[in-house]
Amino acid sequence: MTTLTFPLSRIEGHAQVVIEVEDGDVKSAHFKAMELRGFAHFLKDQPADQMPVIVTRICGVCSTAHHVASVKALEDAYGVEPPPLAKKIRELMMLGQMLQNQATSLFIFTMPDRLGLSIIFQEEVSQEVAKEKQGIAGRALKVRKAGTDLITLAGGQFIHPVKAVVGGVTSGIPKDDAAAMKKQLEDALPMARELFDFYWKSSETLHDRIGTWGDDRPACYIAATGKTKPDYYGDRMRLLIPDNENIIDFQSRDFRKHLDFEETDYSYSAMTTYKGNALRANSLARINIADSMGTPLADEYLSIFREIHGNPANGILLFDIARGIELVYSIERSIELLGEDLENGEPAVPHTETDGEGFGLVEAPRGPLVHRYKIKDGLIEDIEFIIPTVHNVHSIELALMTAAKRYISKEKVDMELERAVGRVVRAFDPCIACATH
């Protein structure tokens, strides 16, 4: 038995891929999460109302999603409904996060795979690539920065947001600030489109070279986004099953009726299945589940995408392209929202803290995120984080298996395997800090 170990980079956190081979036969492909901090354990017996500040520290990449999910879980437990203004501002936070994340995944994590580089900044490159690469890093940082600035405006702090509170948000957004942000996003939109167009073209070139979009078996897709168009604020979980036109939807509090969780001895992350089937979450799940994007430019991209790849689309590398469509959507939708009145109206409603159980659901960049808090005497009696990356672990391993079989034979291990492993994992954009928490 030969064991091939691949350390991973350009993803969040510490993980590696281990593939076992016997006589050219691929025996297993494991995705190993290598870290564990234990939030679900050390938060027991701590004051429930402090969770929105503490749980953001689970992840500096997905912080906004944890912040909003946490507040929603407490509101569910206390029986509070935030006012419309607060919901709009929370949606803006989620959009800022989506914009920042998709720009990072596309242009910093996976663009180097399209250009044969190890980093998007500063590297010595051939003249040919240098010409193409011109300005990518600078523009990518600008687009990303627009997302960060939107998180800061709507969420207060730029990495670990603070403005969502039980009952609403601490304040609205003054008209002038909203207008300035709108202008910044309007300037970022053409830049984001140029970068995405180039990215899509480079992905086609990559496809022509390697001859595949990766594992394209029909799969179960899961998301908490809207049915008709995206909604990252999250209302219900939705499942798209192959050979079934219907989408199953259910409340986050019923997740255990539909999803099974399994621990392994080779990873600090669990994995989710649906009736024994692997699940796929993240961009492609949302694109496959929603009827449309609901904004003009993103809908144009979506119709081109569906014309080429169908609906549902299944190739692994299509997750990356779907991310680009969401990047455009996030900017367009934010521009729409920032044109509305975000200054007047009640930012929050009063509430009384009670004991009980609460579920908070949002659609994070990596998929549906649920926080479940059980509260007794104001303290956390039991706490659970249902993490999007965990839904993808099984599918990541299946896709790695597909790649391994493609590049491993009795005679040799093709050099392309290492690159393929990186591409497969990055297509799912896993977050290990979240997955293990």
Binding site: H41, F42, G138, H160, V166, Y268
Partner: protein, 282 residues
Amino acid sequence: MEKFAVLQLSGCAGCEVSLLNADAWVDKYQLVYMPLVISASGVPEVDILLVSGGVRTDEDLHNLKRSVKKANKVVAVGTCAISGGVTNLGNREEVRNFFMNQSEQRDLPRLLADCRPIADFVKVERYLPGCPPTPELFMAVLFDPPDFKAGNSVCVECNRKKDKTMKPKRLSGHLHGNVQPGICLINQGFLCIGTSTRGGCGALCTNPGQPCVGCRGPSNAFIEKESDAWFASIKKVFSKMTEIPEPEIDSALRSAQMAMFLYQFIDYAGDNPNVPSKKEIL
């Protein structure tokens, strides 16, 4: 061009994401190692090594020890690398037992009993606290500009004004809505410790209405003292500005959300404490 590397131990990558919001380094420094954005195996020789996250596993420890040998200067970046941050809430028997069990069941990096600050294991030249430090603070630690000066405290940098006529009788809890704009959060009954937290963040939480939980750690007035000196001082602040009963304040000051602040004190830092001096901290 000078070279720098970023080593991420067990943490949340928030420090790295913050650094990505800055671009002033691009002309002066070459980034040669930072797994979040670059494929490279191991830290090469560098001028500056930034270390984020705490030492949670034996692999963290191995990577840390191996990497500092390659660096001229080591900077502990962020609350986790400096004190272990919020994971200190797990320094309890039942949580430790859970960790040990997890390790034993798996063929993975072994978990240590607690998440430790990096200075417990290696020599640290500079400390950059914050959860996370702002991009401006990152640039200050890389460029060391002689004119850089952070505010004494978050309170000094906050735009909110004190209102002597407002003397709340109870704590408002940490996360109740309806924060009044422009008025000091203590005057509104919030547990804000911005008066004693190191400045430099631009008061980015308190201005939009979130009380300061002290992620930048104690200001220079307290950094070289034990926590008792601070407890006494902050309680004085509250007794002067509010009518909230002292036991209520005292218990809130020791609650979970204060972990990022409290564990930066020497008497909270374990058996062999290594905490920064005024000169080493930015």
